[in-house]
Symmetry: C2
């Protein structure tokens, strides 16, 4: 198969490895914002953020190649960030000439009339003639591990189960286990919310440090674990309201991805800084470099869900998310995330 990956960020680049390992011809095409990374990868064979070598056969390309790559593709993988979904919808609508299976590692929820999962947002923006239900990829998948061929297990979820299984069969390999699901709403809701909830879990580490504690088995782990469990309860509630199934959040896309996101990604590092008493603005400054402001997807999704809460839910149904929101935007005490429900 000819596979076009759109977006040459860490995740888009990392997923090139298992796909190329299956013998597919992979074209990795950066967005207009990925120029510097694509240049670096062409020079060094490594994504600057991943620190792992690209497969030999993959030579990243700049955004202008996207028309050609889409035209030649038998399958497309969207590796853009949620902010890049507009660009992706635009180039797909312009350059797709037939329906081609699309898989998305892009995570998020968008207000588009109502709160909607990204595969539905994207699908609705494609012309009728080329429309296919995009497949959401969820599950615990740190890009740096995937690119190093560490064993990873993900779930492909789509409204068209046959198309979903076909993509899963094409992409899975010994280091990339792929389960399938017909619950994209549950998978996408869990995937999107995990960054926010990992921030809430991470607050425990900051509170512990603030008290002078050293990391170890006696820390604030009871606190963190209680927040973790409440996160799954709330993911489930929102998933069900968005049309998902109640068991999905306890699987790879919810519990699995939240677990891995609590092991030291950006979202939990933000939580630690909040626990140490930093404001959101200070934490953001501390996590950014002069030429690279940090993207905090957990902050965005908390803002989106609190602002566009589906009418079937009251704030009391998602107390942890609302308390986190108050910590982020209203200066509430970080320890208050523990007081849920």
């Amino acid at each position: 198969m000819n596979v076009a990956i759109l977006g040459a960020g860490m995740m888009g680049t990392a997923i090139a490895t298992p796909i190329a390992d299956r013998g597919h011809a992979v074209r990795l095409v950066g967005t207009p914002l990925d120029g510097a990374q694509v240049d670096a990868m062409r020079r060094t064979g490594e994504h600057p953020g991943l620190g792992a070598r690209l497969p030999e056969a993959v030579l990243p390309e700049l955004a202008p190649s996207v028309a050609d790559a889409i035209g030649a593709a038998d399958a497309i993988v969207l590796g853009v960030s949620s902010a890049g979904i507009g660009w992706a919808a635009d180039v797909l609508a312009r350059h797709l000439s037939r329906p081609v299976p699309i898989a998305m590692v892009t995570k998020g929820l968008q207000h588009d009339g109502a709160l909607r999962i990204l595969p539905d947002v994207l699908g609705s923006r494609l012309p009728e003639a080329v429309r296919a239900a995009p497949v959401a990829i969820g599950g615990p998948c740190i890009a740096g591990e995937l690119a190093r061929r560490r064993p990873s297990a993900v779930v492909f979820a789509g409204r068209d189960p046959r198309a979903c299984r076909r993509l899963a069969d094409a992409f899975r390999g010994p280091c990339y286990r792929v389960a399938t699901s017909d619950d994209p709403a549950g998978v996408c809701t869990s995937s999107a919310l995990k960054n926010a909830y990992a921030t809430a879990v991470g607050i425990g580490a900051g509170l512990h440090e603030l008290e002078g504690g050293i990391p170890g088995s006696v820390a604030m782990h009871n606190f963190e674990a209680a927040v973790f469990a409440q996160a799954l309860v709330e993911m489930t509630r929102l998933a069900v309201v968005l049309g998902g199934r109640p068991e999905t959040a306890a699987g790879l896309a919810g519990a699995g991805d939240l677990f891995v996101t609590c092991q030291g990604g950006r979202s939990s590092r933000l939580g630690r800084l909040l626990g140490l008493g930093r404001s959101l603005a200070d934490a953001q400054r501390e996590m950014s470099t002069p030429d690279c402001p940090v993207t905090l997807e957990g902050v965005e999704i908390a803002a989106v869900v609190v602002r566009d809460l589906p009418p079937a839910l009251a704030p009391e149904d998602l107390p942890l998310l609302h308390r986190l929101h108050a910590v982020l935007f209203e200066g509430a005490a970080p320890a208050s995330v523990f007081e849920c429900p």
Copy 2:
């Protein structure tokens, strides 16, 4: 209230703190095996394993006091290990003269005709005249944190919801949040299995070290998280077969307790050693001291469930537990726990 805690191990001792903080008169009575710890606590005011001071008002007592403590109690907390449940049933049957609420931090499942949760096993061994449905305490609760008054959230689950709420109301405090549940089967199954599954999760850390990796954000976290998610799926299956509800394993007693148990307790340390290639026997030796053989509850529960699998389940329904069992007892490759389902 007069509260008798039976069993002066780490958990029995730790729970004395929130109960005494609520103003109850606490008697902490060791089992016949707790003599050394009780002596040490009477001398130093600290449990040797906890490293946190006992509340002023609590003076631990030796096993012969148990008749008197039970006779005077308005509520009883069982803090014994699962191996001590026989002793506890025996002293309760002998010394209870009226039905008194009983809460259990003791975790496990026992084959008693069929696989049963411990509150039911205990309840059935009490004489009719003093029988009350014991309340199971589940949720993420590292004893060392509880004893230091770090915020902890647990769930009290019992077949008699009113009795359960009454105990919860009596014991909860600012550092000891108590939710209630009428699903003791779900809570007990999750609590019991979490040690086995934490061992499976811990294998990832050992495999990573074996390859020469240093702990950090790029390790085997995708592997660990996939095992974590599968654990919740299997906890749910067994809980439902034992009469529990499908959502319980995703809450405090399942996801919460498993999360905290993965943060460096005995069970996950065993997993690390298995991942490093040690046999169970070697790992047990390495974790024991000359005068204190290590108790590995995860090993016991994996053996019990595989041996006494309820007829409604096939081994393929709990593939991770069966693979872990094969790693523990049949020399299977530790990495094989990842190959589930």
